[in-house]
């Protein structure tokens, strides 16, 4: 792979990766958000694959394939199922789709987009020493990874639907994995394996808890979680 094409492909994958994070904040329909998450997973796998192809490290290509399967396939599939379970209504028309929509996020969409913009700038500032350490096409894209981490964290805080929080968590995690790939072509395989397994289990746990939450609260609006407090 020539250097120019490599840099171009890497930038493209990073661009899509970052764009997906912004779109997650932009859109309210959870079904769309979950699809976007799958695209982001694919972009993450593409980043790993491009790096692997460039450095001729075939192990990285295998990792990329694994990451793709987990983050573009399995995890979105799980979320999708949790979403479908939450869909209610009989007859030809569905009346209540509030479960599938982030109707009242804690921070409204326009404001959260502005926050996302600020977070990207913050990430750019924070990542400067990281880039300065070893400026290559991959490390130059490090702010993308950090931006996605910050945006994911923000989505986690600013969203009210349980599933939207899970999506925020996964965006955060995607961002960390991307940072690992961009900074050092990924952590050692054993750690990567453990991390992926942990993430999968965490999402499974949250999936089960979502079902329990529906049973106990009749919905997944996290504003209903007011049982425990210091009063």
């Amino acid at each position: 792979m020539s250097h120019g094409v490599y840099a171009q492909l890497l930038d493209l994958a990073c661009g899509v990766f970052l764009l997906c994070a912004v779109v997650v904040l932009w859109r309210r329909e959870l079904a769309v958000v979950v699809r976007v998450l799958a695209v982001q997973g694919a972009a993450l796998a593409a980043i790993a694959a491009v790096l692997g192809g460039h450095e001729r490290r075939w192990g990285l290509l295998v990792v990329a394939a694994g990451v793709g399967v987990l983050r573009a396939g399995v995890l979105p599939y799980l979320l999708r199922r949790a979403l479908d379970v939450g869909a209610v209504g009989g007859g030809p028309y569905r009346e209540d789709v509030s479960e599938g929509r982030e109707t009242r996020p804690v921070v409204n969409v326009a404001a959260s987009l502005v926050v996302a913009a600020l977070l990207v700038l913050l990430a750019y500032a924070v990542a400067r020493p990281l880039v300065a350490l070893d400026p290559t096409p991959a490390t130059r894209a490090l702010p993308v990874g950090l931006s996605v981490v910050l945006i994911g964290f923000f989505a986690l805080v600013a969203r009210r639907r349980a599933l939207a929080q899970v999506v925020g968590f996964l965006v955060l995690d995607n961002g960390i994995t991307a940072t690992a790939f961009l900074a050092a072509s990924g952590v050692p395989p054993i750690v990567e394996l453990g991390v992926s397994f942990d993430v999968l289990l965490a999402v499974l746990v949250l999936y089960v808890l979502t079902a329990r939450m529906r049973a106990a609260f009749g919905g997944t609006d996290l504003d209903d979680l007011r049982e425990l407090s210091d009063r």
Binding site: D11, V16, V22, V109, A110, L113, V120, R140, A141
Partner: protein, 320 residues
Amino acid sequence: MSATGYVAVAAQVAVVAGGAPLLTGWMRQVRARLEGRAGAGVVQPWRDARKLLRKEPVSPTGTGPAFRLAPLLLVAGTAVVAALVPLAATRTPVSGSADLILVVALLALGTVALALAGLDTGTAFGGMGASREMTIAALVEPTILLAVFAVSIPAGSTNLPAIVAGTIDHPARTASPAELLAVAALVVAVLAETGRIPVDNPATHLELTMVHEAMVLEYAGPDLALVELGSQMRLAVLLGLVATLAAPWGVATGGSPALLALALALLVAKVAVLGTALAAAEVFRAKVRLFKVPELLAGSFVLALLAVVGSYFLTGEAGR
């Protein structure tokens, strides 16, 4: 500066002024066909203009010069933009002044003139339309500025012909994430600026939902014809700008008349394709709630910002 340069400028303005109503007619026709209607034909906007021009000019009582001047300002400003933007040729007598900030300012001038005219009528609708238009414009103009600025970073200049010429020399730039994000942001901004769905519904007759139409509700006769022409030209110029930035191939960088002719033909083709895509997309989109418009525009603003930031922190070498 060769004579072709002058010819190019004149041709650009002529094509925009003459073709803009046809573009609108074409888009309406595409829409009608997709909806299963026969449609009024591509030249209908010209027929409308002819009809309006024959009518007696009427101004509402109590309106001042702002009302009368606004259509002229709108058309003149847009015509200047059409001359400046390197739609067909990059080397023209005015290319030195074709600064992106000037272009955006000229476009904003037209918007402000119409909004003032809307206020000048003193009617509730004019004021309502003006207030909505300014709300949208306040969000759109920075987005356009930022998006074009992002495109200008690789070129190292805010001069539009320089940007376009640079992109023609380095075609890889068009596939860089920064450029893609900028074009995406620009498209949303253009939709809002020209009052298309999902921001405004150009086909509506319902006074209370309108934005652009509410402002110009009091216009009649030749004034209305000018306003319509001005809006149509804005649409054409902005689509032309998007086409030129996203796919600059064919824009004449040299001085040959044959190349210029080819460039004009390509421009028409590119804009027609964009118009078709826009009209087709409109058929399947609905207008968002007015209060959701800022959400949409904030999104496009962030895209534009990401484009700027991206062109700094992604390698930046891709297009260089």
